[in-house]
């Protein structure tokens, strides 16, 4: 080991981070090199001094000052929030009033105006148009359909076993009568 190599491992030597072989090599080098031996001793002395430097302590009012700062910062945060609210209170209230007005008018329109409008009642004309449309062929005849169209007083109890084809002629006639 030469002096340059020793310089590179001097910290590991002090911190006992070298393996047995490296340590032995370092010891062998120091036995023949007074410069490195002195350097090691000097450095160990400096490190001892460093670790035993007088410790400083915070002043006695350190904690109370810290707590004051915390309380002050909390207050400032609250104040900032209030300040922002105060600064923007007028625009906020205008926007809120507009939103309230819009919401009220939507509510009134949907609950009062729309249900009473004549458009909401289906007219006979529309129904007649629907009637004039080409009817799709019935996929499957149901027993319920004849009952739905019966306007006569006599009620027909559908026979579940009997498959009836729906009579669209009746429907067209009823619509025409309404017209």
């Amino acid at each position: 080991m030469d002096c340059y190599s020793f310089d590179r491992i001097i910290s590991d030597y002090i911190d006992a981070n070298l393996n047995v072989k490296q340590r032995q090599e370092a010891n062998e080098h120091m036995s023949v090199c007074p410069r490195c031996r002195e350097k090691l001793m000097d450095l160990e002395g400096i490190l001892t001094e460093l670790s035993s430097l007088p410790k400083c302590q915070t002043r006695s009012d350190f904690e109370s000052r810290l707590m004051d700062r915390i309380a002050h910062s909390k207050e400032q945060k609250e104040r900032r929030f209030i300040q922002v609210f105060q600064d923007y209170s007028r625009p906020i209230s205008v926007v809120a009033a507009i939103m309230l007005l819009v919401a009220t008018s939507i509510f009134v329109y949907t609950s009062v105006v729309i249900p009473n409008s004549p458009d909401s009642i289906p007219s006979a004309e529309i129904r007649s148009i629907e009637v004039n449309r080409p009817m799709p062929a019935p996929v499957a005849a149901t027993a319920v359909q004849p009952a739905l169209v019966s306007t006569n007083s006599e009620s027909v109890i559908p026979d579940s076993n009997k498959v009836e084809s729906p009579s669209y002629n009746n429907q067209i006639m009823i619509v025409n009568e309404n017209k």
Partner: protein, 193 residues
């Protein structure tokens, strides 16, 4: 009551504080204020500024406690905050010193050197060695200064230093070795003066 407090580890205390227990915060402050001050003081070499930095660190602990995750040791986390704040403060101080020197005109015949801040070391000891050592620390480049203080003054492990500074253990070892040798060289020069 005190016995109960001693039972808690730092990690348990920060957890309690995160849950809203302010007494846990006060306990952490008591545990760390002097340790942090010793670290920052050796870094800045100014007592008042160091105390301010420690206050800022503990304020940050109060406001950002929710940022702490249990994956790291609490001491590592708090030292990381203190190290970052100390670095910023040192940069600010250096800038201010440069500005104040620049602002002095050549015609200024008299100027007052600002009185040095309260220094407990000066009051408690007259050890010349300590003054020299602090002077040597001050001359170290930042990267060596931090590791030397964390290792030699705070007695932290390589692993802890590596976590605080966000560098590999290999880099920590290398910086410690080079930092120690530089410090030794600097002290030799100071002795010879």
């Amino acid at each position: 009551m005190d016995r109960e407090k001693i039972k808690y580890t730092d990690e348990e205390l920060i957890k309690r504080f995160q849950q809203g227990d302010e007494r846990a915060y006060i306990e952490l402050v008591k545990r760390y204020k002097d340790r942090l001050l010793n670290f920052v003081y050796r870094y800045l070499n100014s007592f008042e500024q160091s105390e301010d930095v420690v206050q800022d660190t503990l304020m940050k602990l109060y406001t950002s406690a929710h940022m702490y995750r249990e994956i790291a040791k609490f001491s590592t986390w708090i030292f990381t905050i203190a190290a970052n704040l100390a670095k910023s403060e040192l940069r600010r101080l250096k800038r201010r010193r440069v500005i104040s020197i620049h602002s002095m005109g050549f015609d200024d015949k008299e100027y007052e050197i600002p009185s040095e801040s309260y220094d407990p070391a000066k009051e408690t000891t007259s050890n010349y060695g300590e003054k020299q050592i602090q002077q040597a620390i001050d001359t170290l480049p930042d990267q060596f200064k931090t590791v030397i203080i964390l290792r030699e003054v705070q007695q932290l492990s390589y692993e802890e230093i590596s976590q605080i500074l966000g560098i590999s253990i290999g880099t920590v070892k290398s910086r410690i070795n080079r930092g120690r040798l530089r410090l030794q060289k600097m002290l030799k020069e100071l002795k010879e003066q």
